[in-house]
Every structure is written in C-alpha cells, then in structure tokens.
C-alpha cells in the first residue's frame, strides 16, 4: 500500500510535467498542424536556463533570496527564455515553410531539434547539472509536507503539481475566455476565415509558440528540481510529451492534461512494480495501442478530411 501511494505521488509529479510539455505540442499542432519535434529540446533548454538563473542567484547552498522567491524567479526566467526561443524558431524555421508541403516543416523541425540539442552540448558539455534542491532551506522541500498513511508527500512534489496545474488553468482560461484565446481557437479551426475576421494570423501563431514554449520552460525547471538535467533529456521528454498529447487527442487542452497524467502513472507504476528498464517501452506500447484503437485520442474528434 505504501508503495502504491508513493508511486501515485511519483506518477502525479511526472504526469504534470508531461502534461505541460504536451500542451505545447497541442497548442502548436492545433494551429499549424505541425508536430514541433523541437519542443522537447526547448524543454531541455528551459531546464538549463533555470540552472543558470539558480547559479546567478547564488545557487542552492547560498541563495540570495528566500526559497519561494528563488523558485518563482528561476521558473519565470526559464519561461521567458523559452518563449523567446520559441518565437525565434517559429520565425526562422517554420514561417518560411508555412505553405510548403506538409513534410517540409516536419523535416525542418527535426533539424531544429538536432541543432538545439547539439548546440547545447557544444556550449555546455554533456555533464549533468543538478539543481540540488535538497540544500534549499535545509531540505525543507523534502522533509516538510503532509502524510498519507506512512508516506510523506514532500513539499517539493506538492509545489510542482500545484504550480503545473495552476499554469494549466491559466492557459485554459486564456484560451477560452480572452479575445486572443478565442482568436487562437478560431485560427486553429479555419485559418483563412479567421483572417477574414481581421485576426492577424501571424501574431496568433507566434502567441501559440510563446505560450507553448513558456510552459515547456516551466516544465523544464520542474523536471530538473527533482532529477539532474543534461543536454540529452529533450529527446525522450519530447517523445513522451507528444505521446501524451496524442493519447489525449492532439490539439485538445484537457486531452493533453489527461494524456500527461496517464503517461505519468503508467511510467511510475512500471518503474515501481516491473522495472525501470521497461518503463519507456511501455509508454510506446500504450501509444501504438492508442493509435490503432483510437487514433484521434481521448478528447479528439475523428479527423475529417476536406475533400
């Protein structure tokens, strides 16, 4: 039972990180119908920006600001940096291909992913970077928390899950309630008709990249708070993020959240009850099963081709 609770907590943490990544895929796919392969690497860059900001603020052992402010600041730095990166990627690698055959931006995205990953390796090497969250406030993030039975839910986990969900709710409100959010939905349904309403489609697309990349940046920090990061994490995390997006129904926001959680739980439980070695494989098997049985995902509508 204790193991079960422990794994559920792990699944929740992991799942909310995946959900944040998945949202980025969904937002961009919703509007451009483009699988942004570079998204996982934006996430990786986010974890590095967070690390850099942490060092600037004195590091975990001697932070210059209170812990809560430190966490907020490094998350904001990562979000801002990634948002900028997202805009640059869109402008230079995708926008020129807006009307090219479908395969062209996909290949460009592969190139961006590769370029980012190895540029980071070139600049920072492939060593691991540890946020060392354990040293913050004398381990408060790990020792404090509340108990379920005999299991302690550490504060860090609570913070990660809570802030991930807060971000998702903000996104949800942004997309459903605001003028720009509605313009985004209109654009993803029918780009030309949206333009006919006076919506500046280019701006909307940039906005989607800003939102998605910022979420990836936040996810990068959350990920790196619980385990060391390195320049290679982007590939697998990106893969899982878009698996989550596909499971939930790509283009759908609640779908991305649900998909992320499903994936997080699946991974945590396989790791706990079977073996770490097979957890990645399981993720892929779930995905392929989904694609066979319900290719549109949990929340997606079947793809109707325009004839």
């Amino acid at each position: 039972m204790d193991t079960f609770i422990q794994l559920t907590i792990n699944g929740f943490t992991l799942g909310s990180v995946y959900a944040l990544i998945a949202l980025g895929y969904s937002l961009v796919y919703g509007i451009l119908k483009l699988l942004n392969f570079a998204h996982g690497d934006v996430f990786m860059v986010g974890s590095f920006i967070g690390f850099g900001a942490l060092q600037l603020l004195g590091g975990s052992t001697a932070p210059k600001v209170p812990t809560w402010l430190l966490l907020v600041l490094i998350t904001l730095a990562a979000m801002a940096g990634c948002a900028l990166l997202g805009v640059v990627i869109e402008r230079f690698a995708y926008r020129p291909l807006r009307n090219a055959p479908r395969i062209a931006p996909l290949i460009s995205a592969l190139g961006v992913s590769f370029f980012l990953a190895y540029s980071m390796q070139l600049m920072f090497g492939s060593e691991q970077r540890d946020y060392d969250a354990f040293s913050l406030s004398g381990g408060a993030l790990f020792f404090n928390g509340f108990d379920i039975g005999n299991v302690r839910v550490p504060l860090l986990r609570i913070v990660i899950v809570a802030s991930a969900f807060a971000l998702m709710i903000v996104l949800w409100l942004l997309v459903t309630r605001t003028r720009t959010g509605k313009a985004m939905r209109a654009t993803s349904y029918d780009r030309e008709a949206a333009a006919m309403m006076g919506i500046d489609v280019d701006r909307v697309i940039v906005f989607a990249f800003v939102l998605g990349s910022a979420l990836a940046g936040a996810a990068g920090v959350m990920f790196a708070l619980r385990a060391p990061t390195d320049v290679a994490i982007g590939f697998l995390a990106g893969l899982k993020g878009f698996t989550a997006a596909v499971i939930g129904g790509i283009g759908s926001i609640p779908g991305a959240m649900a998909g992320g959680l499903i994936l997080g739980f699946a991974e945590a439980f396989t790791q706990g009850y079977i073996s770490t070695r097979w957890s990645d494989l399981l993720v892929f098997v779930i995905l392929i099963a989904f694609m066979l049985v319900r290719p549109q995902g949990l929340f997606g509508k079947p793809d109707i081709k325009k004839v």
């Binding site: 119908k33 395969i103 460009s108 596909v246």
Partner: protein
Amino acid sequence: MADEETRRERLEEGVPAASATAGPQIGVDEWVARSAERRGGRGGRLGVVEARLRTVPWWAWLTLFVAIVAALPVGFESGYVRRVAFDTVIFMLLALGLNVVVGWGGLLDLGYVAFYGVGAYTYAILSADRYDLHLPVFVSIPAAAVVGGLVGLLVGLPSRRLVGDYLAIVTLFFFQIFLTVSNNSDSIFGEDRAGGPNGILNVEPLSLFGRELPVSTEGIFNVAYLYVALAFFVVVFVALRLANASRTGRAWRSLREDPLAAELMGMPVNWLKLTAFAFGAAVAALTGTLVTALNGSVFPQTFEFPLLITVYTMVILGGAGSQAGVVIGAIGISVLLELLREPGDSRFLFYVLSVLALVGTLRFSRRLAIVLGGTLALGFVVHSLAGAIDGSWTAGAARDGGRLGEWATQWVVVPSSLASWVTPVSYIGLVAAVLTLTLLRGRLRLALLVPTLYLAAFVWENVMLAKPEPTRFVVLGAILIAVMVARPEGVLGEKRVEIV
C-alpha cells in the same frame, strides 16, 4: 473545359515576374508564387552546358561514377581513404533507400535506421559464431534484406489509415522499441543467447565462392569490400530506377503529390505506402549486412538518432526524389563529416567554404572585395587591440596547427584559456547574427556580414575545433534547416509545382 484551355495558353505565354511582397501572406502561396523561378532552367552559357549534360543518359553517368570510385584505391594506397570510401558507399546505399520512402513516397519515416539495424542483426545472427548457423552469404544477405522488408511492412501496417504526421510518430516509436529491445536483448532472451549493449561479436566476414574475404591484410583495409559495396550500390541503384519507372513508381509520385486525390481515384494508397516503406527498409537492411560483415560485430549504439539525421541530411541536401541528388548528398555529407573530425581539416574546410560561399553569393564584385578586405582588417585590428590589452588574450596556440592554423592565430583572437561565459555568449551571438543577416538587405547586410564572419572565425577556432563531435551534428542540423527554408528541393531535387 474551355476555361482549362485558355488557362493552359496563358501558362505558355509566360508570366510576368512576381512583384516582391513583404513576407509571407496567408493564401499567398509563396511556394506556388515562386514556382516559375524554381522551375525555370538556368539561362546563359551555363544553361547551354546544363542542357547538354541533361541529354547524357543516366547509365552513362552511373558507369562513369562507378569507374571513378573503383579507381580510387589505385590512386590512394592508404587504408584510411579506402575505409572512408567504403563508408561513403554505405551512406550512398542508405540514402538511396531513404529516398524511396521520403523522396518518392513522400512519407516521413523516422524509423529508417532501425531497419538498417534489423538487417545488421539478421546477418549477425545468421553468421556469428555464437549461433553457429553460418549460412552462406548468398542466403544470409538476401534473407536479411527480406526480413528488413517484412519488418517494414509490419511497421507500416498500423499506419495504414494514418495521415503523414502519425506515420512519423509510429516509425519514431518503432525506432525506440528497436533501441530498447536491442539494448536489453540480454535480459529478454537470456545472457547466453543475446549480447544486449555488448552486441554480437565474431561475425563471419563475407565469403565469396568459398573463399573468405579478410577484412584487412597487414592492417590495410581490404579493398575487396569497397568493390562489393560498389556492386551492391549498382544493383540497388538500377533496381530502384526501374521500380520508379514502373507503374508503382508513377503511383508513388501521385501519392506524394496529392494523397487525397490519389485515394479518390481509387489507387491502393495504403498498399503503395507500404511498398515504399518496405522497399526502403529492404535497402537499409541490405546495407546493414555489409557493415556487419566488415566490422565483424554489431552493437546497438550504431543505430542511434544522429545516424538517422545524417542520412536525412544527405537526402534533403542532395534533393529528395532524385537518385543522383541523394548520392551526391551522401558523398558531400560523408566527406564533410570526415573533415570535421580533425581540427586541421576542419579549419581548412571552414575558411575555404566561407570564401566560396561569399564568392557564390556576391560574385567577383566590389562588394566581395569590401567584405573580404573589411573582415581581414577588422580581424587585425581586433587582434592587435586584444593583444595590447592583455597578452594572454591572443596567446592561445592553434589547435592542430599547420600553416593555416599559425596564420589564423595571427588574425583570430585565441586566448590561452577561455572564460566560461565566452563560449555561450560568442556562440549565441553568432547564431543571432546569422539569423539577423537573413532579415537584412543591401548595405546593412554587407555591414553586418563583416563582423559576423569574424565572429564565426572566432567561434570556429575557439569553440568548434575543440569539440568536433557536437560540431558535426550542429552543422548537420543547420544544413537541414537551411536547405528546407532556402531550397526545399535540394541541390538536384525535382523542381516541382505544388498543388495547393
């Protein structure tokens, strides 16, 4: 109908040049709008030469090419050159196979390298001491190709009803599954039966007509392997060429141009996708056998993502859809990657390519002289200033010197030790400068070009040369993006008008 005819007439009348519009617009299909210039051949004297060359039949080119490659070992005694030539032919084979899937089928296959692995493993299982099957190569090699093709069919199956992106995902996951399984094969099948991350060792070399071909004689690469690879290349090239000219080849083309229309016209779209997949997979698997036979072993680490990107870059750079193009792409990238390994070569490559690129874009004009002169002058000024401020800033030694290296350190600032912030700042600055260059026009562009060139030299000397491994892949990624954005049809790709 009448409309149709007038349209066609208009088409032949020729069209006025497109007026420049600022940036891409919705509905204004630049791809389409620029199709005229993309399709038009070259004018002038070069155009005449080009037209002449086009009349030479493909098999003549092929023969000439094979003859040149076959003659290489005669000119170059060194095992290194032979080995590089062999690796290049392997890349050519891989590129030909991927071209079937991407260039002809128009499908994004991200599991391609796994099929290469399937072939390599199949051959290893059929020929390694460990399994004691020792099938003759005339059985094991075709068997590996067939297994590869069948696995290709299997992987293609779930993607039957799926649109392009989903196919990419399924194949990417297949790739991951392949990697997971091959890395963990020892724990799946038992350590006595599979090697897992340690791979399969002691695979027999090729044997022809009852005689084993030793991999090397007196430490020098056995040139016979190059000839075997070349023979494979010719067979695959011709076979694919014939396949492309067949009914299936034409159907592939229409599938790629407009999948929906192809489906509506009653083409067996799924079957066509599957055959393209299977063809590509079979070629990859076939290639895998050769490499395994040569190396005498196979390891899961060979089949990683960077290899996939490498082959993609070859196909895209050369021009997806054109066999000659992807072969040229394979040679270019293979040689490039080889040169980037050694600091001396890499430096040479950098300066030569930079100057060539400048000449290519600016021609022999005054602007070229200004840019070159300006960059040189800027370099000497910066160098002497830096040296005057702090001697250690220019005290670094050229990596793997040579005369060019010595000369370069007289011009580029190479500090004896780099502060940790210099690398990211200069690199990110370079990327930003290059991206900005693409936005600028006219004088501003020339003005920014000068410091960008110098910054590039600085980054190359101080950052890239020190880390050849990520440099090679950064360069590949950059080529991939640049080609897609600037010239999606590649060097020799079929220039075609897209249907909107």
